[in-house]
Amino acid sequence: MKTKYKMIYPALCLFLCLSFNSCLEPDDSVYTTIVADKYDYSEQDMVRLLGNAYTPWRSVVVGMINETQTISSDETLVPVHPWGWNGTTINMHLHTWTSETGEAINRWGELYTGINNANQVIYQIESGMVPVSEGKENYLAELKALRASYYYMLCDYYGNVPYLTQFNVPDGFLPEQITRKALNDSIIKEVTEALPLLPENVDKSTYGRFTQWGAYALLAKMYLNAEVYTGTPQWEKCIEACDKIISSGKFDLADSQKEIFSADNEDCVEAIFAVPFDQSYASGLNIFNYVLNGQFSQVYSTTTFGGWGGSAAIPQFIDTFDEDDSRLKDNYLQGQQTYPDGSNVMCELGYSLGKPMDIVNVVPGLDWAEEPHGLHLAKYEYVAGMNPGAMSNDVFVFRYTDVLMMKAECLLRTGHADDVAKIVTQIRERAFKSNPAKAEVTGDELMEGSCYDYGLRESSYVVDNGGESPVVLIPNPRITHEGGADIQYGRFLDELGWEFNQEGRRRQDMIRFGVWTTKSWLSHEATKDANKELYPIPRTELEKNGKLKQNPGY
């Protein structure tokens, strides 16, 4: 009997063991992802990989439009509102950001993700991991131009940054930091080398990708800012690059500025390098959320409730517009806001509660602004049924008007004001259709200073709420008058502001025209500190890479 039972046990054990398939093999099944070692890339995968290098531009443009190039500038701010915004956005207006201020430092990671992804795809092609039978060199050139475009933004924001073009590096490798000038030179070298291999055609197949024209526009930007980046201006080279694009005949001015920013702007003739967005397939463009109040969710019947009500236009900036300039009306919401049924949008908080939302060109100060205060940003078209956190408008990092204006600026700076007048007039024409005479500008006018009335410009906001004495929200408003007449080529800076407001570039222009640290606006007092022209390197990055040295002044 006993032996019989003893036989059963090993047999039972064996049976049970086998019934679990394998009793010694660790389970290596995956279900929603692919094990890299077991995957053979096919030719079709090239596109799927290429996407990794391009899509980081999405968060980069969102960041530059909402925060990093705008709310620290003289066009827009995020004041303290009754519903919040009492944190780091204050530092942005005051230029007191630190290495922990998200609005100033978050671009670093986004840009390096783009660079690293480009490096990775380049490595995947060069190492033969991805088979590319045709156009290998063209892909590589495209990726290098794209990578240079990320470095361009790093050069603009942070200046002295690590420069790395390799993906396959030894374990523990830490990249070296180079100077802003060296970075500038590397970008120009790379783009110049890549250029001949880039496509010339401008059609559906190259939309959202780097063409020769995108590369020339990138070069033009680098040359335009060369004096800031390197100390040596490169106006002639900028004109040269712009002329390549202009003479290609591939682009044209759009009939109206409005169509460039429409929700369905894919076929725009101005698009030189586009970052495509889509409500469903490429989310992230959340300008609605960032700038509008919750009531607008109902105005536009948005898919989900949104609206954080952050940014407001700075009244002094709005005051520079000519009253007949259609861009003022097209790019901003002002006056009484209404629902689709015609009823008034009402204010819901603070002392404006219950009053119709009649948006006025007044911001009491950084410390207080309510729903109607400050024109609301509306350049990128809002449409009914939109997603407030995922708009479908594509963003053009480089557009044709900009190329014309870059050329114009360089001509102006090299003493060809009259040639500039023709270009600027041409662009103004579509903004002054109601009064074409005003479109005309002369060379002399363009040589004038700015009409921006710089200076601190706070106002006390006095409310009678039925208490014993009225409530004063900005008790000691600060008002100074600095004006803008002394700014060299200030009028041209104004022109840039009128055309390119809200496009995520005002900071760059202000630095180039020397007003970034020298002028005051609203609650921002001139810092007189040249170090503020660069943002600090994020604290977390300094901790990860000991080779990094913080920018001066931080």
Binding site: D28, A36, S99, F173, F305, G385, E468, S469, E543
Partner: protein
């Protein structure tokens, strides 16, 4: 056993025995595991009937160890055992709550009052930077969780504390092993019923501005909110007096050969917040059968666990935003529109439904409306079928096969009606549906041989285990419904996918699987009943490591003990009953929390993150993490010494343990730069962390008279923790520290804790407040120790301003008995730590101009000035958390037998849990959970803890 001889006998299953004897003066010694031995002189009797008393204090009680049982006297490791009689009584949520304050070194925290929330457990400090602090929970040898079986069905819980006892469980054992033993079937027929009913109140509530305070501040312009004309206590509006009740019916019986146990447990707890509840039905049927002269024994057990609860958020239980909304919502806002001052109502935005809504701009809805317009049900079903076959061909040899099949199913549905705030501002209605299934299979085969040769007592165990788990999840959401009548039951009616510009309705499915393969063995050796040794080893593979160079790991342990009281030289010391010295060393692993950590994987990006190529949206193919084939086991090595003693006829007994544990190859999501890395963290083995501590438990029988008894138990533990190292040859942080935690908007990005080499975990890191200016701006201490105003402070000036991990824990349990009354009082305390009071940090700053805040907001800081600075994370909000709690009080009365005819025993009791807290901490409860690296974080949104009152009855028939 005849005393002084080797002659003895063993009873059969009915307890009958036969023994031949020579001398009438021989003394028979009767002994049984878990009972006091008894000596009877044979005399002239031929038939002796003996009823053994259960051993109360006895060191001979049975302790459950890994893959077996041992007598407490034969233990060589640090294991704490708690019997049913010593459990916390009353309305307990899970098994861990039974042990609160009972085991030295085991910290059990219930940081919230949410009835669906499980206890969090911390044993012997923080040993890992990744993973979790949760111990391995085994129910009758099968992995499960604290709610797998009902607390009333548990006979005993054993906690394997040190490395040498836990090492036999290898990779999962670093945070300790909790062995839950359920009640066993036997042939004694009995029916038992336990029932209780109770209620709860908040232990403490925040003192907020009331409507009239708020109104006055509106009038003088201090705040810019609107006076809606109402007078609402929002916390009162969303809460209730809950009713909790529970019933446990247990029936057992059968024959000696075949017997059964059926336990049915039903529990329904209402939370203190409306629509927060928990309902559970746990049924367990166990059947034993033995055959072939007891050589083959079968145990089959079926356990069904059903849990239902209401949800007020998608995928959550109680939506905690409701609590924070109740704190900050304007107290002048009435609950219903009809009660709003008509003039104000005319100026307010129009929202559908009867609810008064504060502005959409603050995106915080009327908290009661959120409760009433949200509806969700979460249904969980766990079915466990397990069988155990024991074959014992000869007395000393035993084979055991354990099989278990466990399936967990979860279905959840959630919907929002048309009056919900979300609906009134955007889409019409919302519904969500989801389901999850996990399957766990276990097969374990063990062989054990035990024999006594002369003075050598040897026992050898060898085993093989295979465990497999599969996880699957699926959910979908939809909105824009034509009606809100159908909840989530007719989700196809929604038109979320046909919004004007064409959006997608979210759907998701996921699956993962893994296995654990192990070989293990153990040898116990006892020499002359004095010298004890245990050696064990486990060799194990975990599929989570597939892709790394080390899938298999080996975990050895050795422990020794010396029963000093058995030595001849101790025989004369009659006041010492037991004295045992123990020492052990063991290696355990730490299981990573997620699968596929070492596998370099590629994935397709989601549909909202695609690449526009030639007119089409293409899903990208991207790496899922930075590769790291060097990835290896995180191992904890522990050395433990202990002393067990009992003196004065076992009136005083106790245990003292001291340990030193060191985790090497610590896994951490190491921050790395991008580029060259793809992601900004890489999971790598980089550090070393050490913990040392002392645990003391002293048990005393102060009185043991017929009518009055008093037992007291004191537990104490202390732990010191230090991060020793944070780099390896491959990963070198420039700084030997990193930051964790977040002060939350508008201070997001500001860390709350710093983890630094040479310092303990849990260091709170921020600016140190020295004073406040007359204008109400903070004055901080800068890095050089000089005072500096807040506007000039920099990130470099932050300092250690506290530590969230208690240095000392103390527990004091008392049991009194007077005639038929019994009273037990459990007290606990923790000392030497600080908490970050997030509620004060966020709601005690006048910068909040439209939301409600704490009353203390407008108090002068340091008696000098009202704060007028932005929200800043600093030492003003870091408070000492030291506390002493009278945690559990139970007063019971035992009725005489047959007080009611047919009722064998009857007991009634009244219990209070979380009765009294003595603390200087200003927050609601100083006992906070907090995650691994950010202890002491008192979350402002947490469901506050409650005090519960329970009346119960136990009946046996």
């Amino acid at each position: 056993m005849i005393k002084g001889s080797s002659q003895g006998a063993i009873t059969d299953l009915d307890g009958k025995f036969q023994l031949e004897y020579n001398d009438e003066n021989d003394v028979l010694v009767f002994s049984y595991i878990g009972y006091q031995s008894q000596e009877i002189r044979i005399g002239k009797q031929h038939f002796i009937k003996v009823k053994l008393k259960p051993s109360s204090m006895a060191l001979d009680e049975v302790v459950v160890v890994g893959y077996g049982q041992q007598k407490k006297s034969e233990l060589t490791a640090a294991i704490s055992s708690v019997k049913q009689t010593d459990f916390i009584k009353g309305n307990v949520r899970d098994a861990a709550q039974l042990l609160k304050g009972k085991v030295a070194g085991l910290t059990i925290v219930n940081s919230t009052g949410d009835p669906t929330e499980n206890s969090s457990i911390l044993l012997r400090g923080t040993n890992s930077l990744q993973g979790s602090n949760s111990p391995l929970v085994l129910i009758d040898g099968i992995p499960g969780d604290l709610r797998t079986v009902s607390p009333e069905d548990i006979a005993q819980i054993d906690v394997l504390k040190d490395g040498s006892s836990a090492a036999i469980y290898g990779t999962r054992a670093t945070n300790g092993v909790i062995l839950i033993t359920t009640r066993k079937a036997d042939s004694d027929f009995s029916i038992n019923y336990n029932g209780y009913v109770g209620t709860e109140t908040f232990a403490k509530t925040e003192k907020l501005l009331n409507a009239s305070d708020f109104r006055a501040l509106i009038k003088d312009g201090t705040i810019s909110a609107t006076d809606f004309g109402g007078n609402t206590d929002w916390l009162e509006a969303v809460t209730r007096t809950p009713v909790n009740h529970g019933h446990n019916l247990s029936v057992k019986g059968g024959t000696p050969k075949t017997n059964y146990l059926l336990n049915v447990n039903y529990k329904k707890n209402q939370g203190i917040f409306k629509k927060s509840d928990n309902e559970a039905l746990v049924v367990r049927l166990a059947v034993n059968h033995s055959m072939f002269n007891d050589k083959l024994r079968l145990n089959v057990s079926l356990n069904s666990n059903t849990q239902n609860f209401t949800t007020t958020g998608d995928g959550t239980s109680f939506n905690r935003n409701i609590y924070s909304a109740a704190l900050v919502t304007n107290p002048t806002l009435p609950i219903y529109k009809k009660d709003v001052d008509p003039d104000v109502l005319a100026s307010m935005p129009e929202y559908d439904g009867p609810w008064a809504q504060p502005s959409a701009l603050v995106a915080i809805a009327n908290p009661l409306s959120t409760i009433e317009t949200a509806n969700g049900k979460h249904h969980r079903q766990r079915t466990r079928l397990n069988g155990n076959i024991t074959f014992q061909p000869i007395e000393s040899l035993r084979f055991n096969a354990l099989l278990s099949w466990d399936r967990y199913n979860e279905t959840r549905g959630y919907s929002e009606s048309f009056d919900n705030f979300n609906t009134t501002v955007s889409h019409d209605g919302f519904a969500s549906r989801g389901t999850r299934e996990t399957t766990d299979q276990l097969f374990e085969f063990t062989a054990q041989y035990s024999e006594i040769f002369d003075i050598h007592n040897i026992s050898v165990l060898a085993g093989y285990g295979y465990q497999k788990n599969v996880y699957e999840d699926y959910w979908m959401q939809n909105w824009n419904f034509p009606t809100d009548q159908f909840d989530w039951n007719n989700i196809s009616l929604g038109r979320g996918d046909s919004d004007i510009l064409g959006s997608r309705i979210p759907v998701s499915s996921d699956k993962s699987s893994g296995n654990l393969i192990s070989f293990f063995g153990r040898v116990n050796y006892i020499l002359a009943n004095k010298y004890l040794a245990t050696v064990s080893i486990r060799h194990e593979a975990d599929s989570k490591f597939v892709g790394s160079n080390q899938v298999w790991g080996t975990f050895p342990a050795v422990s020794l003990a010396w029963r000093i009281n058995e030595e001849n030289f101790m025989k004369s010391v009659s006041w010492i009953n037991t004295l045992k010295l123990r020492a052990g060393y063991g290696v355990t692993g730490i299981a990573p929390s997620s699968p596929y950590l070492a596998t370099y994987r590629l994935g397709y990006t989601g549909n909202s993150d695609t690449f526009y190529y030639n007119g089409e949206w293409v899903n990208k193919l991207t790496p899922q993490s930075n590769p790291n084939p060097e990835f290896t086991w995180e191992k904890k090595k522990e050395f433990n010494v202990g002393l067990d003693f009992s003196i004065l006829k076992d009136r005083i007994s106790g245990t003292i343990d001291a340990y030193y544990r060191k985790t090497v190859d610590l896994l951490y999501n190491y921050p790395v730069p991008v580029p060259p890395n793809v992601y900004n963290t890489t999971l790598a083995n980089v550090g070393t962390i050490s913990n040392k501590g002392i645990e003391v438990m002293i048990n005393g029988i102060v009185f043991d008279k017929k009518d009055f008894g008093w037992n007291t138990t004191l537990t104490y533990s202390t732990n010191r923790n230090k991060l020793d190292k944070l780099n390896n040859s491959q990963y070198q942080l420039e700084n030997d520290y990193f930051y964790v935690g977040d002060a939350q908007p508008p201070m997001s990005g500001v860390p709350t804790h710093r983890v630094k080499v040479g310092e303990p975990i849990g260091q709170i890191w921020g600016w140190k407040v020295l004073d406040i200016t007359d204008e109400g701006k903070w004055i901080y201490e800068d890095r050089n120790g000089n005072p500096v105003e807040s506007k000039d402070i920099t990130t470099e000036d932050r300092k250690v301003i506290g530590n969230g991990l208690p240095k000392h824990y103390l527990g004091w349990n008392n049991e009194f008995r007077y005639k038929n009354f019994d009273l037990s009082v459990t007290m606990r305390g923790a000392f030497g730590f600080q908490n970050i009071n997030f509620t004060r940090l966020h709601y005690e700053n006048p910068v909040e101009k439209s939301m409600n805040v704490l009353k203390s907001t407008y108090d002068k800081v340091f008696g000098k000035a009202v704060l007028s600075d932005t929200k800043q994370f600093n030492s003003y909000y870091v408070e000492d958390g030291d506390y002493w709690k009278i945690d559990n009080i139970v007063l019971g009365y035992n009725f005489k037998k047959d007080f009611i005819k047919g009722v064998k025993g009857m007991r009634v009791y009244f219990s209070v849990q979380n009765a009294v807290t003595f603390t200087g901490y200003k927050g609601l409860d100083p006992e906070v959970g907090g995650s691994l690296l950010t202890p002491g974080t008192d979350d402002r949104n947490k469901y506050p803890t409650t005090r519960s009152y329970t009346f119960g009855v136990n009946l046996s028939f």
